[in-house]
Amino acid sequence: MNTTTAAVLVPLLPALAAAVILLTGRRAPGYVQPLAVVPTLASAALAVFVAVRQSGREPLLASTELTPTGNPTLPVELAVRLDGFAVLVAVLVAVVAGCVQLYSTGYLRGDPRYASYAALVSLFTSAMLLVVYTDDLVVLLVGWEVMGICSYFLVGHYWETATARSASLKAFLVTKLGDVPFVIGILALASDAGSFRISDIVARLSSSLSGFELSHPTLVALLLLAGVAGKSAQLPLHTWLPDAMAGPTPVSALIHAATMVAAGVYFVARLLPVFAASAAALVVLAALAALTMVGSALAALAQDDIKRVLAYSTIGQLGFMAGALAVADREAAVFHLLTHGAFKALLFLAAGVLIQTAGTGSLAAMSRMRELRRRAPDAFWATTVGLLALAAVPPFAGFFSKEAVIGAAEHAALDNEHGVSSSLAAPAAAGWIVLVAGLATALLTAAYATRLWLLAFHDPVDARVESLPPGERASSAMTGVLWVLMVPSLLLGLAYGKLSDWLDGGSLAPTLTTSVLATGAAVLGGTAVYATWRRAYESAQAEDPAPALLGPLARHAEAGFHLDAVYAAVVVRPVDAAAGLVRHLDRAVIDTYVRGAAGAPGLLGTLARRAGTGNVQTYLSALVAGALVLGVAAVLVAVGD
């Protein structure tokens, strides 16, 4: 099979599956499971096939014109660009989506809306793969928006609950809030650069010979950044992601760990020269990333719900990727994206098993339950591996990718000649910001990972009192997926040498200084949490170490630093007030006109009814008088002529 054909089939298969499921799912529910799982797995296999065929070679470009735009030099094309970034991210997306589909067969067994769920997950996967493969900005936008709407439906899967409804609306609105400037940015970029093709834009910008420059690089970069911040849950548009945990856990794994949020980072990675053209944009990105990292890590430390912890950690890890991009190192960013996608999907799916077993997602409740570890051994091991990867403990995957990011930041901060990957140069300020924030976040990440693990599982002297509620065991599909995903979480990092060949060719190897610094920070964080927990555990019962560690900050951190309240004060309340004003105007002003418009004819009608007395003589008098007037008028007219 041709590589291009295979690449086209990768997003096409899940889309077709989604269409077929939507058409037939209601009538033939028995076919939904194979229709959901098989095309996704096939597309994963094809993605792997494409990746293997393309490994380390020159990027493969293929395109066909989709539609003219009125400007002959700016057509919209169905184009694929198969470079190392695209094929690797596609493999990640397809594999995680396949795992999620498999897992969902167990997790959502007996769910009445499984058919639509499976179709939406397939469609979602297809859209993400489209975003990954496409070389055309408009087609990318289509996939981008399809993901947005699918995430709306999937987060709102349990729409019977108010939280799911409001969470889905919030996810939709917040991401759309970023998408509006995103669209404007895409159009501005395309008209500025004279092409919708990403490869053309990048080639023009990075070629030193042509001397091409964007006329408003900062403006375009900031507009695009708004969309990226919405999708990738960066400050200040990150608030939808923790709430989006109201969706089913596999959806969280798919959307909020590996695919949708990765789209933003991936987009910046593809268009990095555009962002690198503006030092201001990079510094802004670095500042946003730093704030996001530290803030979300603190918030994650204080959360009680296991999925919310993971959600905040996702935001933080995305901040890491954004930081890598801010120092103009897209290899590190995509490397971290890959490893994070693997271990975060693993963590989410394991959390799903834990929640199903414990019957609750609350860490405080789990910390009182005995034998969670024994009842769900697969989830225990998966969580352990995932958390170790998350905390960047060598030799797990997270260690290498995080090292790559911090190393890139260190390069950008200290010697501004980090130029192996490209001619892109990042400002030293961005490097310093990312470096400091990254180290702080490494510490905090290790801290909340340790806390999660301790609260959920660690019970050295069997001090826990409550027994687990009776429940069904996780199905073999679910646990099997966990073991599958454990492999990349463990081993993907070791492939850094191979991966750098597939990407731009820059070194992804960990450097000694940063490794020691970051690992030290991680160990420090973990130890601090363990010590605090130990004291609490010995003194009374298993207690949450977070309040003691965070001190007065805990309350704010748990509320996500009150950003929702800020939004409520800045956006929601003025909008409410404006709506109230409009309502008042509608009632007081417009309704008056309406009532007047109804009342005046009513009044006239009442007057006219007065004439309808039923007295025939009155009628006749009026008739004769009228005939008289008409006759006189006719005569006068005739005479006048």
Partner: protein, 185 residues
């Protein structure tokens, strides 16, 4: 048609105007009197005077038909109607409705208009009465030649009116059957 002035009067015209004034006066009394039976009698006078006017206009056949049918049957029917609705014999104060001023105004206005119009239109028109135009033989001739079809249609109409009147009366008797039946007091 000799050249005659507007008010150069002949004997026929004098009689016509005198009888016309009588007819008008009787008609006015008919619509204003407070005694209902008197109104019917004034109607007799007015219609009888009108028959004289027809004679003056040489329409003799129409005049006799007028006398026969109007005076002979219609007025009698009206008198019967008055009796059957138990109309009072003496003057009744509420013979006129509250619409009277309006009626007066409308009637006067229309009279003014019509008279003005008619006088203005026929100021110089004269009827030649030397040759009688309404003799019975000529009228009968045209009635049973030219107008025989409308005549027959009219007979059907009369039959229908007869049937209708009977039906209405029968319905009344069948439905009501109350003791409040019969003539006046």
């Amino acid at each position: 048609m000799t050249e005659r002035e507007l008010l150069s009067t002949s004997g026929q015209e004098i009689v016509f105007v005198l009888v016309g004034l009588m007819v008008l006066g009787a008609a006015v009394l008919c619509v204003t009197t407070r005694q209902l039976v008197h109104a019917a009698l004034w109607l007799v006078v007015a219609l009888g005077g009108l028959a004289v006017e027809y004679l003056l206009l040489t329409a003799e056949f129409v005049a006799w038909v007028q006398v026969l049918i109007y005076l002979g049957s219609v007025v009698v029917l009206l008198l019967f109607g008055l009796m059957l609705t138990r109309a009072p014999i003496g003057p009744s104060p509420d013979a006129d409705s509250g619409n009277r001023p309006v009626a007066l105004a409308v009637a006067l206005a229309s009279a003014a208009c019509l008279v003005t119009l008619v006088v203005d239109a026929f100021r110089t028109t004269w009827i030649d009465l030397d040759e009688p135009h309404g003799r019975s033989d000529a009228l009968g001739d045209s009635l049973f030649r030219t107008w025989v079809l409308p005549f027959e249609a009219l007979s059907v109409l009369l039959l229908a009116a007869l049937v209708g009147a009977i039906a209405l009366s029968r319905a009344r008797r069948a439905r009501a059957g109350t003791p409040a039946d019969g003539g006046g007091r």
